[in-house]
Every structure is written in C-alpha cells, then in structure tokens.
C-alpha cells in the first residue's frame, strides 16, 4: 500500500462518521415522507398529482426539473458538512494532541494535506453522489407511477444539480480548508468574521474617500454563484427545455469562471499547505 493510500484510509477512518451524516439525514427525510405517505394511504387521503402544475408541463420538463430540485436539500446539507470537515482539516490534530504523532511519520506534508483536502471535499462529493443515485432511483419509481419516466431528462436534472453543488463545495471547502491552516478552532466562522470585517472597512473607506475598492465578500459570492434563475414558464416546452439544459451546461461547467474557480481552489490548497508546513509544532 503506498503512503498516500494509507493517509487517505486513515483520514477516511477518522472522518467516516461525519461523512455519513448527510446520508443519515436524507434517509431520515425519506423515512418521514414514507411514514406520512403510508398514513395518508391508509387513511384514504393519499393523492399524488404532478399534472396540476400551471401550464401543463411536459414529462421531459417534470423529469428534469424535479430531479434537479430533489438535489436541493442534500446539496445544502453536503455543503454544510464540507465546511464542517474542511474547517478542521489542518487544525484538528492540534486540538486532538496528536499533531506530533502524525508529523513524526516519514511522509510528505503535501501528501498529508492533500489527503485531508480530498477527504473533506471529495469525500462529501461521493456521499452526495450516492444520495443523488438513490434519489434518482426513488424518483424513477414515483414518476413512473404517475407520469412517464424519461431517463435522459431525469439524469440531466440530477447531474447538473450535482455538479453545481460540487462546484460550490469545491470553492467553499477550499476556503474553509485554507482557514483551517490559519485558525485552530472554529476556523470557518473566524475566517468569515475577518472577511466581513474587511468588507465593512472597505465599504466605509469607499464611502469616505469616494473610492471603488473591490469588496472581498462580494467577490466571493460572485465566485461561488453558479447560475442566474430563469423563469419556469420559459422552459415549459421541450424545445426551450433543451436550450435551457445547454445553457445550464455552459453556466455551470463550460466557462472561464469554472477555470477560475478551480484555480482559486488550487491556490487556496497550496497556500494552506505552505502555512501548515511552516507552522511550528510546540
């Protein structure tokens, strides 16, 4: 087993419980929905009707948009857990008093850092993907029972939503990973507080001096933000839906902003690792 695999395995073993929480939360939601549905079914008030949406949407639209929407909650939960895991990536061993033990191993700090980064971000991606797969299967059964299951549209809805959240997770997780190298505890909140502080300071300076200095929080939001909402009515026909899907691909993946997002994430990882590498171990 090579050293990086050993590090990954160790970091997964340590973070396993936290990584699994989104899965349990979503499973809990399903259980609640299942219970409510069962109660409604047995009391005779169960009525699932997806055909009442205004404008009589097509099956393609329903398959696409419902799968996309289904990823909303798991996506948000995943983001929260990416922050929770990455904000302690480079400082948890210090709080756990095991920093000396881990740093006394003959393995590159870059490997150690990369392993924590991967587990914190990609680990959550894997869990989110599993939830997406589960949603997809459950949705297939539900939609097939009330309308028509269009696998291509359902898949596109799921995958585009999944990629959107993965990208947001990459940026937010990288930022959170970076602050974990700077602060020892509650790193994300401390980092956010500093950014907000700088934001207010710059706003005041801009107002007083009549300058137009760029604002960090505004830049961050712009960097994280993937898409501009499009009115539902404009994508109700299959033709406009196809255009919308193509536009969504362009918006979430195939553009310069994606490259900038990846580059900024990479930069945050590198700077965080350099800070971590040069930190004294007392």
């Amino acid at each position: 087993m090579n050293k990086f695999t050993a590090l990954l395995r160790k970091d997964i073993q340590i973070s396993k419980n936290q990584l699994m929480i989104p899965l349990w939360i979503v499973a809990g939601f399903y259980l609640v929905i299942l219970l409510i549905s069962a109660i409604s079914y047995f009391t005779g008030s169960f009525n699932l009707n997806l055909g009442n949406i205004q404008g009589s949407p097509s099956s393609d639209f329903l398959n696409y948009i419902l799968n996309m929407a289904l990823m909303g909650l798991p996506g948000m939960i995943s983001l929260i857990f990416i922050i929770i895991l990455t904000q302690s990536a480079l400082n948890e061993n210090i709080r756990n008093h095991s920093e000396l033990f881990h740093r006394s191993q003959p393995v590159s700090i870059w490997y150690q850092s990369a392993s924590k980064y991967l587990v914190g971000i990609a680990g959550n991606w894997v869990i989110l993907s599993l939830i997406a797969l589960f949603n997809f299967i459950v949705f297939a059964f539900i939609i097939a029972s009330v309308d028509r299951f269009v696998i291509s549209m359902a898949f596109l809805g799921t995958i585009q939503s999944l990629i959107s959240f993965m990208k947001i997770g990459l940026i937010v997780g990288s930022l959170s990973f970076f602050v974990s190298a700077v602060f020892k505890d509650k790193a994300f909140l401390q980092g956010l507080a500093i950014i907000v502080g700088i934001q207010f300071l710059l706003i005041i300076i801009n107002v007083i001096m009549q300058w137009h200095l760029p604002l960090p929080l505004s830049y961050l939001i712009k960097l994280i933000n993937n898409s501009t909402p499009v009115g539902m009515k404009t994508i109700l026909t299959n033709e406009s839906l196809n255009i919308f899907i193509k536009e969504t691909w362009m918006r979430i993946l195939f553009n310069w902003k994606t490259l900038i997002q990846i580059a900024v994430s990479g930069l945050l990882f590198v700077v965080a690792t350099i800070i971590y590498k040069n930190r004294e171990i007392k």
């Binding site: 087993m1 090579n2 050293k3 695999t5 050993a6 590090l7 395995r9 160790k10 073993q13 340590i14 061993n93 756990n96 008093h97 095991s98 920093e99 000396l100 033990f101 881990h102 740093r103 006394s104 191993q105 003959p106 393995v107 590159s108 700090i109 590498k277 040069n278 004294e280 171990i281 007392k282």
Partner: protein, 284 residues
C-alpha cells in the same frame, strides 16, 4: 567519546518571543549510546528535542547522522523515531488502524516483530486508542516504535504519568527489544532516578543551557558523597557545595572525589545527587 555523531548541534538558540529557551547549545552525541537529557521542568529539554527534529524554528546548526537539518523534513523520520508523551497518539483510530497506518508509512517497519509484540501484549486491535488506559497507550506506542528499524530513538518524557510498573516495563522493553550498539537512544526526563540504571551518558540542561555532558561512570568517579557528623558541617562548607543535606545527626554533601576530609564517610553518589548538586532545586 568516539565514533560518528548521531546528533550534532552548533550555536543552537531558540527564542519564544523575548524568552531565550535554548542558549547557545553545542552538543555532539555519539552513535550507539544511551543518553539521558536531564533537567527540571521548563529547562528546555522538549524544546531541544523539537528543534532537533525541525519542529521548531531555531538559530544555529543541527546535524543528524551527518545531514543538516534546517527545518522539518519528513525524511528525518526515516532515521529517527520520536516518542513524546503517549497521549499524542490519535485517539480516534483503533489499535489496528494505528498499526496499519504507521506500518504503511514506514519502509523500515518490521511486520514480524510487530506481530510478535502485538501477540505478546494484551492490546485489543479493535479498541479505540482513546479508550485505552495510559499504560496500554504506552504499550501501543512502544509496539509501534520497536517495530521500526531506526537508528535514533528520541524519548521525550515518555513515562510521564505512568505508574512504576509501566515505567519499569517501558524501559526494560526499550533495552531488550530495541537497543544494540548501533543505535542511539536519547531520553529526556526530569525523573532522574528512573533512568539511572540504563544510561551510559548524561546531559544536564538548565535554563536552556547545557551545563554538563559526560559519561556517567566518569562523572560518578569525579564526585563523592562526603558524610560528617553535624557538628563538623564547617568542614563540608569549606569546599562550597551547592547543597548540604542533614540526616540523623549527620550532614553530607557532594564534593569532588580528589579532596580529603578527616573522619568523613565517602560513598559513590547517585545520579540524583549529582543532578541536585549541579542543577540545584528539586529533581522531583
């Protein structure tokens, strides 16, 4: 002292803000010896060890087995195993996971030895490290360290907080399972009595300064404990010892062996006696 140096420091200084934690340390530690780094709490023992490993930024030069150490390098740990306080193990891993993790990262890992040591111990591989007693954690740390074929072993207050049984077992295992004449062991402690029987050389450190580096046998030959009746205390005071002890109508002090005091009883000093004489204060 002969042979190639295991560790060498030249003009080593370390500051914490304005506090000088290490003050111009010049050391040459030969290979194949068991060395005690003794000093009171806060004397600079841990700081010196962490500087040697590159964990702390410092001024001056450090060499390990002929290689210069300017800052922390992972390759250093291929030659050195380091045991700080046993609580530094990762509580979140199980015993098995800890062993697998360390074995995968260290090319010098001896699987056969690890297996034998694990079988001989009462460690439960499925148990979380966080649930182990301090004594069991020590056993695990020992198992890990003794399964590594490294040239230098640095022990920083390794038995702190352990009861006497585990402390004895710890040092017996280090001697029995690890030490041979090609390996160097440096033990930092303030519990002087603990290590007296196993050490070959001694380094006394106080307030960040090395005040003595010597072979124990030579050091013990240089000094003696002189005991005289209490009324003859002045005879001891003539030689200006740092400490004069009173015991049941008698007084004694550690003095150079080459002096002569009429009617004094002369015995060999222990390491504690020498430590107290040279460093002063409590050796705990």
């Amino acid at each position: 002292m002969t042979g190639k140096s295991a560790i060498k420091t030249k003009n080593l200084n370390k500051y914490y803000g304005k506090l000088k934690a290490l003050d111009n340390i010049n050391l040459e530690i030969p290979q194949g010896r068991i060395i005690g780094l003794l000093g009171k709490n806060g004397a600079g023992k841990s700081t010196l060890m962490r500087c040697i490993l590159g964990f702390l930024k410092h001024e001056g030069e450090i060499e390990i087995l002929g290689k210069q150490i300017k800052r922390h390098k992972e390759s250093t740990h291929q030659d050195i195993a380091f045991i700080p306080d046993v609580n530094s193990l990762d509580d979140r891993l199980t015993v098995r996971q800890t062993i697998d993790y360390v074995s995968a990262l260290n090319i010098s890992w001896n699987h056969e030895k690890a297996h034998t040591l694990l079988a001989a111990s009462d460690l439960d591989p499925k148990q979380k490290v966080g649930n182990l007693s301090k004594g069991m954690k020590t056993k695990l740390y020992l198992l890990i360290t003794l399964s590594l074929d490294v040239k230098i072993l640095l022990l920083d207050e390794p038995t702190l907080g352990l009861d006497i049984v585990f402390r004895k077992e710890f040092f017996n295992m280090i001697l029995g399972e690890y030490y041979d004449e090609t390996k160097t062991i440096i033990i930092s402690t303030h519990q002087v009595e603990e290590v007296e029987q196993i050490l070959q050389d001694i380094i006394f450190i106080d307030k960040g300064k090395i005040i003595l580096q010597e072979e124990i046998e030579k050091l013990k030959a240089k000094y003696s404990i002189y005991t005289v009746p209490a009324e003859k205390r002045a005879k001891l005071e003539e030689h200006k010892p740092r400490i004069i002890n009173k015991t049941l109508g008698q007084t004694n002090a550690v003095l150079k062996s080459d002096i002569s005091i009429e009617s004094a009883q002369v015995v060999r000093p222990t390491l504690s006696d020498l430590f107290l004489e040279m460093v002063g204060g409590s050796s705990e």
